[in-house]
């Protein structure tokens, strides 16, 4: 028992030790050693409930190891390693400590066997991660971080409230599969939903991730949302509503991704869309679909990290990640470009890349279970992913028109981190058996059947064709060629007007709704300040008379209610 201590403690001890290690390479090496040690340790763990702590008559399961929690813990450790390698050059202790605490909390949450432990780590990820946003140390980043923190902590509070009610209903705090129905489970569901960025609960994601530091975004993209995916897979597998939520999630960020100019933000929209695929898989809840969702989360962490790393490298070297200001970087950043294209191919699920072996599992099971409309939506979303992540990102950053920028190639540590990510993306795509062996259920699935490969290739080729046709026909006005991609305006005109119109309509409604809500909130705060502020009637203290009046009123009230015998 005693030797199977919780993995999270390894990270926390590492964070404490960090203060004792001098700045520089020795600390960077230490930061790499922690996730490596954790990874090896997780690999060696037996299955079962390995560590129980007793607090207030409650048994807290800190180490529930099974196939589902192990694969998530492993990919988290791997992602922490790559993230720290990518951040080798960073000498900011705040970010280093935050990264360790953040990844440790995420792994701790994955191993949590009961809702209280889950809650503690859940809040741990929220609090640790916000420092990666604040680490940018700008006024804007500060406010963004604050908004992010409020939403994340709010999600934790919902989780705790839900857990308390769930405990009242069932007498158990174990974190097992639940069915929606009672207030408690709905609150828990909502808490998970916020962190996995369900539609309309998603805004924190696009708001905060691109606001973090270059390395911070890479770290952030891994843990919070995938932890939520894990929690959904554990708690709400087979909940049908998730299928529809997931389908909406895959489709609607595409419109935003198309009109967005900041390439890191485009990637975050596509992150949201990818989460949708996983949510659909969890909603279907069959063994194949769950395997698909988990495998997708696994490879997604790798290739999304890879894409964000490449954009981060561009940002690091050029100081911007705006599509309209970049272009032609392939000349001086060829390796970064190659890695980015590999990431793009993976996310578009080209055969022989990692996205293909995972996403096809969810897709084919959707069709098999008879959700044809959902299946069509997912196909549409796949085409959309290919368009904005597969074509748009590498095209605008590295090719397109020449921006004249001639930055140096990314530093060696970034290249190495991207290289490992790219290698793994291809390796899993070519030889998926080791990944399949890790999945929660036995896999009897071969991605490389003729029909699947052909379907996918058809889809991708037609998407590419559509793109080309749109460009070549009148929809792409010739005069734009000259000012092509020079400004936001031209950039928004480049792509089909239909999509533009739809997204603008959605945007307008959304702005109107948020604007209304914002005005109301501001009104309430102003009202509160009028009444409760230093000059407000409720904060006045000097007049003794008002106090005496209150005493009289209260006495009268007390007398009255005793005399008229209310009770």
């Amino acid at each position: 028992m005693a030797e199977n201590f919780p993995v999270a403690f390894l990270f926390f001890a590492g964070a404490a030790l960090l203060f004792a290690i001098p700045k520089g390479n020795s600390r960077a090496i230490f930061l790499l050693a922690v996730p490596v040690a954790a990874g090896l340790y997780i690999w060696s763990l037996p299955e079962g409930d390995l560590w129980t702590a007793r607090v207030f008559n409650l048994d807290l399961e800190l180490m529930r190891v099974d196939r589902l929690s192990r694969i998530f813990a492993l990919i988290f450790a791997l992602a922490a390693f790559l993230g720290n390698l990518y951040a080798w050059h960073v000498r900011d202790r705040v970010q280093q400590v935050a990264t360790l605490l953040y990844s440790g909390s995420a792994i701790g949450a994955v191993f949590a066997g009961d809702l209280i432990t889950l809650f503690i780590y859940w809040e741990g990820t929220a609090i640790a991660s916000v420092f990666l946003i604040w680490a940018r140390r700008t006024e804007g980043a500060y406010h963004t971080g604050m908004r992010y923190l409020i939403i994340q902590v709010g999600s934790g509070v919902l989780l705790l409230a839900g857990a308390a009610l769930y405990w009242r209903e069932t007498g158990s705090l174990a974190f097992e599969a639940m069915t929606l129905g009672s207030l408690g489970t709905w609150l828990i569901f909502l808490a998970f939903g916020i962190k996995s960025a369900f539609p309309l609960l998603h805004n924190w994601l696009q708001d905060s991730y691109p606001a973090a530091t270059v390395t911070g975004t890479v770290i952030l993209s891994t843990f919070t949302t995938k932890l939520a995916i894990y929690a959904l897979a554990r708690g709400f597998a087979g909940t049908e509503i998730l299928i529809y939520i997931g389908a909406v999630m895959t489709v609607f960020p595409i419109f935003y991704a198309v009109i967005e100019n900041d390439l890191r933000r485009v990637l975050v929209y596509s992150l949201n869309n990818q989460l949708g695929f996983m949510v659909v898989g969890i909603g279907i809840g069959s063994e194949l679909a769950l395997n698909g969702a988990v495998a997708h989360a696994f490879v997604h962490i790798l290739y999304k990290g890879l894409l964000l790393m490449s954009m981060g490298a561009v940002l690091y070297r050029t100081g911007t990640a705006k599509g309209s200001e970049l272009g032609g970087l392939y000349k001086t950043m060829p390796l970064t470009m190659i890695f980015c294209v590999i990431g793009a191919a993976s996310i578009s699920s080209f055969p022989l890349f990692s996205g293909f072996v995972a996403k096809s599992m969810v897709l084919s099971d959707t069709a098999k279970e008879g959700y044809y409309i959902i299946w069509a939506a997912l196909l549409f979303a796949s085409a959309g992913v290919f368009h904005h992540s597969g074509i748009k990102i590498p095209f605008f950053a590295f090719f397109a028109h020449d921006s004249g920028k001639r930055p140096k190639e990314a530093p060696w540590n970034m290249l190495l981190a991207m290289g490992i990510g790219a290698f793994l993306s291809i390796a899993i795509g070519v030889y998926p058996a080791p990944l399949y062996a890790l999945l929660p259920y036995e896999v009897d699935y071969s991605p490389y059947s003729i029909s699947k490969v052909v379907t996918t290739l058809q889809l991708l080729l037609f998407a590419a064709l559509a793109f080309t046709v749109l460009v070549r026909t009148g929809i792409y006005p010739p005069e734009l060629r000259s000012i092509n991609l020079d400004s936001d305006w031209s950039y928004r005109m480049l792509f089909p007007r239909v999509i533009g119109a739809v997204s603008r309509a959605i945007g307008k409604i959304w702005t109107a709704m948020t604007g209304f809500a914002l005005r109301r909130v501001n009104g309430i705060i102003a009202g509160l300040y009028r009444t409760h502020g230093p000059e407000g009637p409720l904060a006045r203290v000097w007049p003794t008379g008002s106090m005496v009046l209150w005493i009289a009123i209260l006495l009268a009230a007390t007398l009255l209610i005793s005399f008229i015998d209310l009770a």
Partner: protein, 510 residues
């Protein structure tokens, strides 16, 4: 067990009177000697002695037994009786712990904030206040409660007024408090007078038995209303809290720390004693005061006072309003009218005393070094006074109720009580009001750590004599957040002493 030591047994028999008489006798001695340092030493020794006595008392009664002590050998109900049970022994312990921790801090703080000539008088007033509070809690005689309440109140007015060295507004604050406090005390004594008129006795136990047949009597009901409102003023029930923010803001730091942790807690205790021991619990419930006064005003305090705290520019004042809000939680526990609810109130007494005393002391340390508690002037102190600032953050976490702090334990018990009654909307209110605490604590954290200092003057960390008491309480607030054995057991025993004997729900449904 202790009584088997023959020489000790006589001493042990007189513990109840020693509890009050030690600080009472010390007070005039301090004046006579007239040297501030020796005055402080004597006060500190008296406080330690009180601590020992109260600990011994609590150990004797924690199993639910009761000690009855007859002053001068006059048997109750004619003579004055001191009566110790689990409930008041617990409060006595809180009082003497806080006093013992605050006094070492007070020495440094008082040397800076109070003119040298007045310092001995300060310690005298302090000891009298301490005596009064102890007396209110330990006595078993209703009129004696009033007497001790006046002793503590009068010395409190003096103590608050001593803040005039730093800020002249302390004088108005003390005067306002005097007027309001006197009205409260008058109401209280009117209530007791009415009871005496009806029953001819002042002994609490005797009163209780004689009041039982009189439950429908209008005079008794009026007495109840007067007592609840009079005490309500002392404990700062929400609309009657107006004296508190100024008194706490302008009093010397040591006084604020001591009063915030003790005075309102004693008032809560008196309220409980009258509602549940003098009047029968069923009577209190039937009067409607619990449902229509205590509970709603408790909830209003939780929100309104917290929101006012958010908009304050003076840190002491922020904390003062936060105290009003925290008192709301205690009232909420009473309003539940259940064993768990009263446990929550009792444990919140202890937890809030520890937390708020630590916070006010830490703010006092900031005042000691910078001369102000105006929040914008504290910018960037997080780096210059790291220990003090860290204490404010840690205390703030406890106010919010983060797990592993005592604040969490209070709210947890309070939540359990709410869920026991299936009042889950109440559970939501409790959590929601805690979120407001996040706002006002965060504002302070932001100013201390994230803002650049206004000017370049170097501010030193507070002296060790201040840091040690502050951190003792901060560590206690975390220790008792993890190990709840002592506090929860005492709080449960105290709750049992009030309504454990009767079955509250069955009684209520009659």
């Amino acid at each position: 067990m202790l009584a088997t030591f023959a020489p000790l047994s006589g001493f042990l028999l007189h513990l109840p009177i020693l509890q009050v008489i030690i600080p009472l006798i010390t007070a005039p001695i301090v004046v006579v000697i007239g040297i501030a340092r020796i005055g402080w030493l004597l006060a500190f020794l008296a406080s330690i002695a009180s601590l020992v006595v109260s600990y011994l008392l609590l150990m004797q009664v924690i199993d639910g037994s009761v000690i009855s002590y007859q002053i001068g050998g006059w048997a109750p109900p004619l003579g004055i009786e001191y009566r110790v049970d689990a409930a008041n022994a617990f409060v006595l312990l809180i009082l003497s712990v806080i006093s013992t921790v605050v006094l070492p801090y007070a020495k440094t703080s008082v040397e800076k904030e109070i003119r040298a000539g007045s310092q001995t008088l300060f310690y005298t007033a302090y000891l009298l206040c301490f005596t009064g509070l102890l007396g209110v809690v330990i006595t078993g005689d209703a009129f004696n409660v009033f007497v001790f309440l006046e002793i503590s109140s009068l010395s409190t007015y003096v103590l608050v007024a001593m803040g005039a060295e730093r800020d002249k507004r302390a004088l108005t604050a003390a005067f306002d408090y005097l007027v309001m406090g006197t009205i409260g005390a008058t109401f209280f004594v009117i209530g007791i007078g009415l009871l005496y008129m009806m029953t001819g006795t002042l002994n609490i136990v005797d009163l209780a038995s004689r009041l039982e047949p009189l439950s429908g009597n209008r005079t008794v009901q009026a007495a109840f209303a007067f007592i609840v409102v009079g005490i309500g003023l002392k404990l700062a029930i929400y609309p009657l809290h107006l004296w508190l923010p100024n008194a706490y803001t302008y009093a010397p730091s040591a006084v604020t720390s001591f009063l915030a942790a003790t005075a309102t807690k004693v008032a809560i205790y008196v309220l409980l004693r009258f509602m549940f021991s003098v009047f029968a619990p069923e009577f209190s419930l039937a009067s409607g005061a619990l449902q229509y006064i205590i509970l709603p005003f408790g909830v209003i305090a939780m929100f309104a006072a917290s929101i006012v705290a958010v908009f304050q520019a003076d840190l002491k004042r922020t904390l003062a309003y936060s105290s009003v809000a925290q008192i709301g939680y205690m009232l909420l526990g009473i309003g539940y009218f259940s064993n768990t609810g009263l446990s929550a109130t009792m444990i919140q007494l202890f937890n809030h005393a520890v937390t708020k005393a630590a916070l006010f002391m830490a703010v006092g340390a900031l005042v000691y070094r910078t001369g102000t508690s105006f929040i914008p002037k504290l910018a960037g102190l997080g780096r210059q006074m790291p220990w003090t600032s860290a204490a404010i953050v840690a205390g703030g976490l406890s106010l919010i109720g983060i797990p592993t702090t005592v604040g969490f334990i209070s709210k947890w018990v309070l939540l359990t009580g709410a869920l026991e009654k299936d009042w889950w909307w109440m559970a939501i209110l409790i959590v929601a009001s805690s979120l407001i605490a996040v706002i006002y604590i965060w504002q302070v954290v932001e100013v201390l750590y994230l803002k650049e200092p206004e000017n370049e003057t170097v501010v030193k960390e507070a002296p060790l004599s201040m840091l040690l008491p502050i951190w003792t309480l901060i560590i206690a607030s975390f220790y008792f957040g993890l190990d709840t054995e002592l506090t929860l057991t005492s709080a449960r025993a105290a709750a049992d002493a009030f309504i454990g004997a009767v079955s509250p729900i069955a009684g209520a449904s009659q």
